[in-house]
C-alpha cells in the first residue's frame, strides 16, 4: 500500500472511530495491538508489570488524543510508538521517584536474581537515547531487520541512506546505548 493510500485509509478509519463506529475501533485496535505490545515489552526491557502499565497508558492516551492524529504526518503505528516512548519515560521516572516501591521486580524462582535490575537498566538506557538511535536499534534487534533492509526502508525517504550509512548509524547507536546502560549502573 502506498503512503498516500495508507494515509487515506487511516484517515477514514480515524473519522469513523471519532463518529462513534465501534466496529472500526475494534478492527483498528486488533490490527495494531500485537505490534504495540511487542514494542512496549522491548522498550521496557521485558519487565511485565512496567509493560502492562505502559501499554494501558498508551492506549488511553491514544483514545484521548485520537483527534490529533494526522495520517499525513506518519502511520498510526508510529504515532502509537511515540506515545508509548513517552509513557515509558514517565513510568520509569515514576518508579524511581517512589522510595517504597522496589526498583526491580521480584525474581521468579530459579531465574537470575539480577535479571529484573538489568531489564530496568535496559529500559532506562533505551529511554535515554535519541529517537533516531532508538529507531535503528529497534529495527535491528526487535524487528530483526538486516542492515540492507533497514537501508532500503530508509531509502524510501528523499534523503536515501546507504547500507554503509546504516552500519555507521547502528554503530553510533550501540555506543550510545552502552554508555547509557553503564551510566545507569553507576
Amino acid at each position: 500500500m502506498s503512503d498516500g493510500g495508507r494515509a487515506w485509509r487511516e484517515r477514514a478509519v480515524r473519522d469513523a472511530v471519532l463518529a462513534g463506529d465501534a466496529a472500526a475501533w475494534r478492527g483498528w485496535y486488533d490490527d495494531h495491538a500485537p505490534a504495540l505490545a511487542a514494542y512496549v515489552r522491548w522498550r521496557c526491557g521485558g519487565l511485565p508489570d512496567l509493560a502492562d502499565d505502559v501499554l494501558q497508558e498508551t492506549w488511553l492516551v491514544a483514545v484521548r488524543r485520537l483527534r490529533a492524529f494526522d495520517p499525513a504526518a506518519g502511520p498510526f503505528a508510529a504515532w502509537l510508538a511515540g506515545i508509548a516512548a513517552n509513557a515509558v519515560r514517565n513510568a520509569l521516572r515514576s518508579r524511581r521517584r517512589k522510595p517504597t516501591r522496589p526498583l526491580t521486580d521480584a525474581p521468579e524462582p530459579g531465574s537470575d536474581p539480577t535479571a529484573g535490575a538489568t531489564a530496568e537498566r535496559v529500559a532506562a538506557a533505551l529511554a535515554a537515547l535519541p529517537a533516531h538511535y532508538e529507531a535503528v536499534l529497534r529495527a535491528k534487534y526487535l524487528d530483526r531487520r538486516t542492515v540492507d533492509e533497514i537501508a532500503a526502508e530508509q531509502g524510501v525517504s528523499p534523503q536515501g541512506v546507504s547500507p554503509k550509512g546504516i552500519e555507521s548509524l547502528l554503530g553510533r547507536a550501540r555506543q550510545a546505548f552502552r554508555e547509557a546502560f553503564e551510566a545507569d549502573h553507576d
Binding site: V17, G20, A22, W25, R26, Y29, A33, A38, R41, W42, G46, P48, D52, L55, Q56, W59, L60, A62, V63, R64, L66, T118, V122, L137, K140, Y141, L142, R174, F177, R178, F181, E182
Partner: protein, 192 residues
C-alpha cells in the same frame, strides 16, 4: 561491553509471554468505555450548541418583537367622544324696513298655556300666556271660573297698562278690566 553480541543478549526481544485474554479484553474494554464517553460528550456538546442557538434566536425574536403603542389615557376611564350634530335653529334677523315678529310656538291648550305662564320669568310674557289660557278656557271649554282666574293673573302680571281696553278682549276680560278700573277709581276716591 564492546562486543555487539552483548547487546544482542540485552536488546533481543524476550520470549512472548503467555497470552492473557483477561488483560487484553479488559484493556480493550477500557478503551471502548473511554471512546464511548467521548462520543456521548461530543453529542451532548452538539445538542447544547443547537439548544443555545435556538435560545439565542428565541431571545432575539422576543427582543425585536413589535411593541404596541401605549394608550394615551387611562384604559379604565370611559372614553367620551364629542359629536357635533347640526341642529336647525330659527333665528330672527331684524331688518330696517319691516321688523319681523319672532316666531314662537303658541300653546294649543288652556292647561299648556297656563303651565308656560307659571314658568315664565318675564312678566309681559307671563301676562300674555295667562291671557291665552283665559281665552282657551272661555272659548274652548266655556270654563268661566278658570278663565276668570287666568284673566285676573294676566292683568296682575301686566300691571297698569294691562287694564286698557282692547278690541280683541273677550267679554269676560272686558268685564274684569272695567271692574278693576272701578275698584281702583273707588279706592282712589275714598282715599281722597
Amino acid at each position: 561491553m564492546t562486543d555487539p553480541d552483548d547487546l544482542e543478549s540485552l536488546l533481543a526481544p524476550r520470549p512472548t509471554p503467555e497470552p492473557r485474554p483477561g488483560f487484553d479484553a479488559a484493556l480493550f474494554a477500557q478503551t471502548e468505555r473511554a471512546l464511548a464517553r467521548r462520543w456521548h460528550l461530543r453529542r451532548a456538546s452538539r445538542a447544547a450548541v443547537v439548544a443555545g442557538v435556538f435560545a439565542v434566536g428565541g431571545l432575539l425574536g422576543w427582543g425585536l418583537r413589535p411593541v404596541p403603542p401605549a394608550p394615551d389615557s387611562d384604559p379604565a376611564e370611559p372614553r367620551v367622544e364629542v359629536v357635533i350634530v347640526p341642529v336647525v335653529v330659527p333665528v330672527s334677523v331684524p331688518t330696517e324696513s319691516a321688523p319681523v315678529a319672532v316666531v314662537t310656538a303658541e300653546p294649543t291648550t288652556a292647561a299648556a298655556a297656563e303651565l308656560l305662564a307659571e314658568q315664565a320669568d318675564d312678566p309681559a310674557r307671563a301676562a300674555r300666556l295667562y291671557r291665552i289660557a283665559g281665552d282657551r278656557f272661555l272659548l274652548d271649554a266655556q270654563d268661566f271660573r278658570n278663565s276668570r282666574r287666568c284673566y285676573r293673573l294676566s292683568l296682575a302680571r301686566a300691571g297698569d297698562g294691562g287694564l286698557r281696553p282692547a278690541a280683541d278682549d273677550s267679554w269676560l276680560l272686558a268685564d274684569l278690566k272695567v271692574s278693576l278700573l272701578k275698584e281702583r277709581h273707588d279706592a282712589t276716591k275714598n282715599d281722597g
